[in-house]
């Protein structure tokens, strides 16, 4: 197991190199003249002398590969440069915002699991009954509703029609409710679909027929065997939902004005604040890769049959 983790961590190195290279190249190609962008973002009308001085100071006169190297060293030491708009370090901005995003994302993930586990199991056990059809339809509906629409529909219903919640999510528990629901809705749809499929597959296995033949109670074999065996698939699904959570956060936070990474990156896109966009992309990619790695490790831990091949 330790050896496997070691091997996987080693294999991360080339992937991280590619990720940083892709991110840096994107910025390099897109940002035009960063010196001008930086000065304009600070509200200065740049003349040639100021531009040249700024370029020299920012190291823009170095060749591409040296700039990439410098940036990579900065990234590894936690220094992602400074925001063009307010001069604050990008990593600090991102870490503060990341905490806010994590609060919403973790709640949304928990809510999705609490809803989708029983629904998925129920609809699988009652396959092809009214309940199953209803759950499947709702799942399909949830899969077709992007989080921004879910958010707007929730605002319409609960803030405007029923007036239960404030529209803007202030740093409060009440303000958290709607963003969490909006973020969890599309993910819940995916979860239910996959949990149902997995449980159905397990129910078709011989050991279930065997348990039924021996007169084992349904609740017993469901919890002890079926759920236990489905854990693998469920963990995988949670791991893969992290990407959707991040994307959802970008949209949800800009709608509810929640001060997380999503809002930060949208504000930065509007302000053409490239270092922040770059930092966001690289952080998300690293987190995503790490979570995929953790998922794989958990997978192997839970199912020792999986070997290197």
């Amino acid at each position: 197991m330790l050896k496997y983790i070691q091997k996987r961590l080693l294999r991360l190195i080339p992937i991280l190199l590619v990720i940083t290279f892709v991110t840096f190249s994107l910025m390099y190609l897109a940002s035009g003249d960063p010196a001008q962008k930086k000065l304009v973002a600070q509200g200065i009308v740049p003349d040639d002398a100021a531009l040249e001085a700024e370029r020299e100071e920012m190291g823009l006169n170095d060749p591409f590969i040296i700039r990439y190297g410098k940036w990579l060293v900065g990234f590894l030491t936690g220094d992602l440069g400074e925001s063009y708009s307010n001069g604050q370090p990008v990593s600090g901005l991102l870490w503060t915002a990341m905490g806010k995003t994590a609060a919403v994302a973790v709640c949304a993930l928990a809510l999705s699991l609490v809803i989708s586990l029983p629904l998925g199991i129920w609809s699988a056990v009652r396959q092809n009954t009214f309940i199953d059809y209803l759950v499947r339809f709702l799942t399909f509906f949830a899969n077709a509703v992007p989080s921004f629409l879910a958010a707007l529909l929730l605002i319409y219903l609960f803030c405007i029609k029923l007036k239960w919640f404030p529209v803007l999510a202030k740093d409060s528990f009440r303000g958290l409710v709607l963003p969490v629901i909006a973020l969890s809705l599309p993910i819940t749809g995916k979860f239910v679909k996959q949990i149902r499929a997995e449980i159905l597959e397990q129910l078709g296995e011989g050991y279930v027929t065997g348990a039924q033949a021996r007169g084992v109670r349904q609740s017993t074999y469901m919890i002890r065997d079926v759920l236990h065996n489905s854990m693998l698939a469920i963990i995988t699904v949670i791991g893969f939902s992290v990407g959707s959570l991040f994307v959802g956060s970008v949209v949800i936070e800009s709608i509810f004005q929640w001060p997380g990474v999503g809002k930060l990156v949208m504000d930065s896109i509007t302000a053409r604040d490239y270092p922040v966009i770059q930092g966001f992309v690289i952080y998300i990619a690293v987190i995503y890769v790490m979570i995929n790695l953790l998922t794989d490790i958990a997978y192997r831990y839970l199912d020792p049959r999986i070997t290197d091949s």
Binding site: F140, L153, F246, V281
Partner: protein, 275 residues
């Protein structure tokens, strides 16, 4: 069982064809000019003259939903087709020839797939500065990789099969082997993956437009219509609800169609659920 599968496939093929045709003929069906503003009649509730009401500039929401259908649906279809062709071609060539080029392309694909698809699309679109074409480029850049991986892995498995070796021995060139023997065998998987992607891409495109990174005003598109009308949820909810409904229904139809095609062709895709 097979008949039932065929029935569902036919139903959703019919519905998908129906909305495609509807969007093709949207110019004729529009009751009003989608871009004509009317300061006297802003935020009017649905009526006989404006069946879906009017928005904050007095534009007919129904006409804009119809006009936007062309953008939303065709951008998604074109994007899926383009990424499928490009990704599959790259994957087949890499898998067939292997070598250094294969390794390099696969490392690039690993790198791109290390990002959540939409996060990458938002970042690329944000850096390119929005606009319909840039949004398509961003989504395309982020979504061609699964086709390449799928095609490559299938080609590597197939090229050692006896019928491929037999074709080679009997004098087929590389092009004839790929086109005549390998491609027909991997086509169902690629088609299935592409079909399940239409709804996803449609949502992604609407999402980019919603974030003002896609289609720009005054051109009508569902995502941007929802985005620009979201401030009037309290005063003119129809301006949000109707484009939203159009988006949800279209995505559901294409998602169902994708699943029906998968069931019919009986293809199981491992990578499909990853994103």
């Amino acid at each position: 069982m097979k008949n039932k599968k065929n029935l569902w496939l036919r139903i959703f093929l019919f519905l998908a064809a129906a909305i495609i045709i509807l969007s093709l003929f949207s110019d004729v069906l529009m009751p009003n000019d989608p871009n004509a503003t009317n300061a006297m009649r802003i935020k009017e509730a649905p009526s006989a003259e404006y069946p879906f009401g009017t928005d904050d500039l007095g534009r007919c929401v129904l006409s804009r939903v119809l006009s936007g259908s062309k953008t939303s649906i065709f951008c998604a279809l074109i994007l899926v087709a383009a990424t499928a062709v490009f990704g599959s071609a790259a994957g087949m060539l890499c898998g067939y020839y292997g070598g250094a080029a294969d390794s390099i392309v696969m490392r690039i694909i690993d790198g791109i797939m290390a990002f959540p698809q939409m996060v990458l699309a938002i970042a690329v679109a944000g850096m390119l500065g929005g606009g319909m074409l840039n949004a398509m480029l961003a989504l395309g850049f982020a979504s061609w990789t699964p086709y390449a991986r799928l095609a490559r892995s299938r080609v590597i498995a197939l090229k050692r099969e006896e019928f491929v070796l037999a074709a080679r021995i009997s004098g087929c060139g590389d092009g004839a082997v790929i086109g005549g023997y390998i491609f027909p065998n991997i086509f169902p998987s690629l088609l299935t993956y592409a079909a399940t992607q239409v709804g996803t891409i449609m949502l992604g495109f609407a999402g980019l437009s919603f974030l003002n990174l896609g289609v720009q005003q005054p051109q009508a598109e569902w995502g941007s219509m929802i985005s620009s009308a979201r401030g009037m949820l309290a005063t003119a909810p129809w301006a949000v609800l109707y484009p939203a409904l159009a988006l949800i229904v279209s995505v559901m139809i294409f998602n169902y169609l994708g699943d029906a095609i998968r069931d019919r062709l009986d293809v199981h895709l491992e990578s499909e659920e990853r994103r």
